[in-house]
């Protein structure tokens, strides 16, 4: 039974997650409100919502992080609730508090719980008190203290932001020589990303797996868990491939992790959706897991849990925010995998890429879900996170989910922005992934030097380029009218003028 009215939902986010939240809200009969920055005026989430408000210029600090403008937009549009999505303001207790103070429902945990969990140092104390094992570490930005710690525990050590999540400001220090620079850079990035320059230094586990537990809590004291996700495949400490369940995880370890997540949630009286992240280390003695952090929000990779449990986590969040009581989770089925398609050049150290989408082919088929905001003509700028879309597949078992992911990645094509899709295809096709040889070092162990030389593929690419130059492939082929963002036409194309080029008669 709902105890409070929730009819109009404002989504304080952009991109695929704003669109995904709007879809669920609509399906629940809610009115939806989008907010957007100037360059996002034509973005899909704005078109999908019933109402939309401009909240500022491109710079996130003046738009998607602009608390006053977002609350003003909620007032103007009669929104009675705000969903923060992930990133941006989702883990800012001051935002949750400001929303609360405006008499608007915040679809997420209470500010106090968020503050406690969002501070890595406080969260660690909480974990220790709840009997959850932690990796040895200290909070400091002082080189001397960090040096003493490293001398005790041994290099390598990990330097990371005390606030926030998502791997920002995180650096591995292999030897004392790199320590000062790492502390300085981590602190600067932490300050830029979270407005809080504190850093945490801890022992670096050589080859751990990243495994996390999805949990939900309601206002009636119920906490449920919905299985685990293995998110070991990461680049720059940010996840790019996730799956559920975690392959080969021992039943006793899984049970202990789910119980630890429940204790963490109960310790802060957690309401709404959250994720307890752990590192799993394996040696002769067996599996050992350590508390990493709790993300007090919806995670990017939540769809793999939804698919296995046959639920809609955003719908659950909205029901919890209305004051409803949680139902028991469903029985998980099969295996799910997610690949994050980012605007990055995997062949150049995952350097961010920008551009406008000239052509787009999206995958479909049994067990395939593609959460994305991209359309032909979408502009991918440098202002925000480069996540373009999430490709999720489900199968009766891991091998079926993997085969479907391969097929879906073969279907996807995004032209105009360099993406990680081709790289991800080779990850999913690799023997190491097929064998589930997972660790957070997966990319450096198995994918360095990508792409390897593939003559047939190069030939295909060059033939495709020649066909495209001749107008026989892509926009301009057949009877299609040309209309791309630069307004260029076939006849004016400089490619027509290339010498040594033979056009043939189309069959």
């Amino acid at each position: 039974m709902a105890v409070r009215k929730l009819k109009v939902l404002l989504v304080a986010n952009r991109g695929e997650i704003a669109l995904r939240i709007i879809r669920t809200a609509r399906a629940m009969g809610l009115r939806t409100v989008a907010v957007y920055s100037e360059p996002d005026a034509n973005s899909a989430h704005v078109a999908a919502a019933d109402d939309a408000r401009l909240i500022g210029p491109a710079e996130a600090a003046k738009s998607y992080l602009n608390i006053a403008a977002i609350i003003e937009a909620a007032r103007e549009t009669g929104a009675d609730a705000i969903h923060p999505g992930y990133g941006f303001l989702s883990e800012r207790p001051d935002f949750a508090r400001a929303v609360d103070a405006s008499g608007i429902i915040f679809v997420g945990p209470r500010a106090a719980a968020m503050a406690q969990l969002g501070d890595k140092v406080a969260a660690r104390k909480l974990a220790i008190a709840a009997g959850v094992p932690v990796v040895p570490g200290i909070e400091t930005a002082e080189p001397a203290a960090a040096r003493a710690f490293a001398a005790r525990e041994g290099y390598p050590i990990l330097v990371k932001a005390a606030a926030g999540g998502g791997g920002r400001g995180m650096r591995v220090v292999e030897a004392e020589a790199g320590l000062d620079a790492a502390l300085e850079a981590a602190s600067r990035e932490a300050l830029a990303a979270f407005g809080d320059g504190r850093v945490f230094v801890e022992k670096y586990l050589a080859r751990p797996r990243h495994i996390e537990v999805q949990f939900l809590g309601d206002e009636h004291g119920t906490v449920i868990t919905m299985g685990e996700r293995d998110c070991s495949i990461q680049r720059r400490h940010q996840k790019i491939v996730e799956e559920s369940p975690a392959p080969g995880l021992g039943a006793a370890t899984r049970d202990a992790m789910l119980a630890a997540a429940t204790r963490l949630a109960q310790a802060v009286g957690y309401t709404n959706a959250g994720t307890a992240e752990f590192l799993l280390d394996r040696d002769q003695a067996g599996e050992k897991f350590y508390f990493l952090e709790v993300n007090a929000r919806l995670q990017v990779e939540h769809p793999i849990t939804e698919i296995r449990f046959g639920c809609d986590l955003v719908a659950e969040q909205i029901k919890i925010a209305r004051g409803e009581k949680l139902a028991a989770p469903g029985v998980p089925r099969g295996h799910a995998i997610e690949c994050r398609i980012n605007a990055e050049d995997a062949a150049a150290g995952f350097r961010p890429a920008t551009g406008s989408v000239l052509e787009l082919r999206v995958p479909a088929g049994p067990g395939v879900r593609f959460d994305s905001y991209l359309t032909r003509g979408s502009e991918v700028g440098a202002f925000y996170d480069g996540l373009l879309g999430k490709l999720i597949t489900h199968g009766a078992d891991r091998e079926q989910a993997r085969a479907r992911m391969l097929g879906a990645l073969d279907e996807i094509a995004i032209l105009g922005v360099t993406t990680t899709a081709g790289f991800l295809r080779d990850v999913i096709a690799s023997e190491a992934f097929a064998d589930a040889d997972l660790s957070t070092r997966f990319i450096e162990e198995h994918c360095s030097g990508w792409p390897s030389e593939d003559r047939a593929m190069s030939e295909a690419a060059l033939i495709a380029a020649a066909l495209t130059a001749a107008g026989a492939l892509g926009a301009g082929s057949g009877q299609r009218a040309i209309s791309n963002s630069s307004g260029e036409t076939t006849d004016r194309s400089p490619w027509r003028a290339l010498r040594g080029f033979e056009l043939w008669r189309r069959p």
């Binding site: 094509a413 030939e459 492939l473």
Partner: protein, 174 residues
């Protein structure tokens, strides 16, 4: 036609096309393939046992193609351009994306070697070091820490190292 992708140059000609059979010459090799058009601006190309799904698009400055999920950018090859620049891979270092200058690591008149970081910028919430693609002299630094920069903005101008003929490199280091 001569095409360039990154630092590599290629040559490709479509020799003939008869129905679904296509013959091409790629870097001097004969390649036989079959092609099926899918009617949505894409096609399936088969070379031997391999099947590739192709998609192509033209931009003012480049041809973009997708081969399955992989994408490739090609521009017309400008042979001899580097020789004219005295061994320089490029005469300026430009911003690969919009952002902010964090650090400038060189000053006017410095001699730098290929791969040496020149400027650190922050873009898309990450720090990126921009390095010299070849040995060079710093002719002029045009930005200072804190400057906001647009995509393509010139950050540093370079000139050839005096008598650089000995260390000309074909491929720019990155």
């Amino acid at each position: 036609m001569k095409l360039k992708s990154g630092a590599r140059e290629y040559e490709v000609e479509i020799v003939s096309r008869d129905g679904r059979t296509l013959r091409a010459r790629v870097d001097g090799r004969e390649v036989s393939a079959t092609i099926e058009e899918l009617g949505d601006a894409s096609a399936i190309l088969s070379i031997g046992e391999r099947r590739f799904r192709l998609l192509g698009a033209r931009r003012k400055d480049a041809i973009l193609v997708a081969v399955g999920p992989r994408t490739f950018d090609f521009v017309p090859a400008e042979s001899g351009a580097r020789r004219a620049r005295g061994g320089l891979a490029a005469s300026e270092v430009t911003a690969p994306m919009p952002g902010k200058v964090l650090k400038v690591l060189v000053k006017d008149g410095d001699r730098v070697s290929a791969g040496q970081p020149l400027v650190v910028i922050e873009a898309m919430k990450m720090e990126t070091a921009l390095a010299a693609e070849s040995d060079a002299m710093i002719k002029r630094v045009r930005v200072a820490p804190g400057d906001n920069i647009d995509h393509g903005a010139v950050l540093v101008e370079l000139s050839p190292v005096p008598d650089s003929s000995a260390n000309q490199s074909e491929r720019g280091a990155r």
